[in-house]
């Protein structure tokens, strides 16, 4: 399982670096009234939110690979719960 742990570490690190960069540049652009600020800020937030989701998906794949059906199922349930909160977000989004 050490391989899965290392992959998870890499996914988390990449997510944090990418989102922090996007948020920092987006914030600077916003205060310079430059175009693209909002796009970068939203991209940064979405990358931040996607990082734990990606970590869960990587875990599902890792557990399937070693045929650990119990943990494949458990992590799949966590992914479904995250999807359910995305559905709840859409329901609450009055702009739709």
């Amino acid at each position: 399982m050490n391989r899965l742990e290392r992959t998870i570490g890499a996914v988390l690190r990449a997510g944090v670096i990418a989102s922090s960069l996007a948020l920092a540049v987006g914030l600077l652009l916003q205060f310079m009234n430059a175009p693209g600020a909002q796009v970068l800020l939203h991209a940064g937030i979405l990358t931040l939110l996607a990082t734990p989701v990606a970590r869960v998906i990587v875990s599902i794949v890792g557990y399937i690979r070693v045929r650990d059906w119990t943990f494949s199922t458990l992590t799949a349930i966590v992914l479904l719960e995250l999807l359910a909160s995305a559905v709840a977000a859409l329901v609450f989004n009055k702009r739709l």
């Binding site: 948020l23 987006g26 800020l41 937030i45 943990f71 458990l74 966590v78 989004n93």
Partner: protein, 277 residues
């Protein structure tokens, strides 16, 4: 929605740095400090404050766990099992947050921060219990190398239903109040479920990223997550927790915990009275 000025962003960045620093020093999330500052100090609506704080929880969880992955301290199997409960609790809390009045949530926050303070006071001198190194860790237990003692620590997980229940409550509080929820899980996992405090804290920190995401997604959908303010807070918290971990290792945090408990009691009282009015 608040108007995002450079001054407001700078204040939130600084607040993030302070709460992230204290969070790293004390091993609690900075959310219990950041949320009241944003809500009471800057007069942001409670859900806006909670959403900003949740994004900092995700960032902290991801960066701390990235650094620790592969070092055995995080019990990933246990974490992923308990996440089933925290994510469900968080989903439920995020939906409830849309239905409760701000005053109700403030009262809950007041009660919860008082609990954090009490837990902190009762655990001032907490040390690891000596564990038998030859026990079988079982399917959920773990084994890690402890730097202070230089030995291997092996543990079994006991009372799993209790751990799941605590995780559900922690998830619930997380998305409702904009905090990580580690202060609920870590004492329960440590005191009743047989998990050494360092492993419990690392596993909890690993889990709260997923927990907070289930809540933050809902706030994002409702438009209560303001990206520019969240960006300021996330960058501030990362700077603060980096500083806290770098300079705080040698500090015997006891007086700091006492100070923090006093601050939390004050925060609790102010938040609670604000909720009553």
């Amino acid at each position: 929605m608040p108007i995002v000025t450079p001054a407001l962003a700078a204040i939130i960045f600084a607040a993030g740095a302070v709460s992230g620093g204290f969070g790293a020093l004390l091993g609690i999330g900075g959310g219990v400090l950041l949320v009241p500052f944003l809500n009471l100090g800057l007069h942001l609506p409670f859900p806006v404050a909670a959403a900003i704080s949740l994004t900092t929880v995700i960032a902290t969880s991801s960066s701390v766990s990235a650094a620790r992955a592969g070092k055995q301290l995080i019990n990933m199997r246990l974490g992923m099992l308990l996440e089933v409960a925290t994510a469900a609790g968080s989903l439920f809390g995020g939906v409830t947050a849309q239905m409760l009045a701000q005053s109700t949530v403030q009262k809950v926050f007041g009660v919860v921060t008082a609990m954090v303070a009490i837990i902190m006071l009762t655990r001032l001198q907490r040390r690891n219990v000596i564990l038998d190194p030859d026990i079988d860790p079982g399917p959920l237990g773990g084994r890690y190398h402890e730097e202070e003692s230089g030995g291997m620590v092996t543990y079994r997980v006991k009372r799993l239903p209790l751990a799941l229940a605590a995780s559900f409550v922690a998830g619930n509080m997380s998305s409702l109040l904009g905090i990580g929820g580690g202060f609920i899980k870590v004492p329960v996992l440590n005191a009743w479920c047989g998990i050494p405090v360092r492993a419990a804290a690392a596993t909890s920190a690993f889990m709260i990223g997923v927990t907070a995401t289930a809540g933050a997604v809902i706030y994002y959908g409702t438009g209560q997550l303001v990206p520019a303010l969240a960006a300021s807070a996330v960058l501030g918290v990362q700077l603060g927790s980096w500083g806290g971990m770098r300079f705080g290792q040698r500090a015997s945090a006891m007086w700091l915990k006492l100070l923090m408990a006093v601050v939390l009691f004050v925060v609790s009282a102010v938040m609670f009275t604000r909720g009553i009015r």
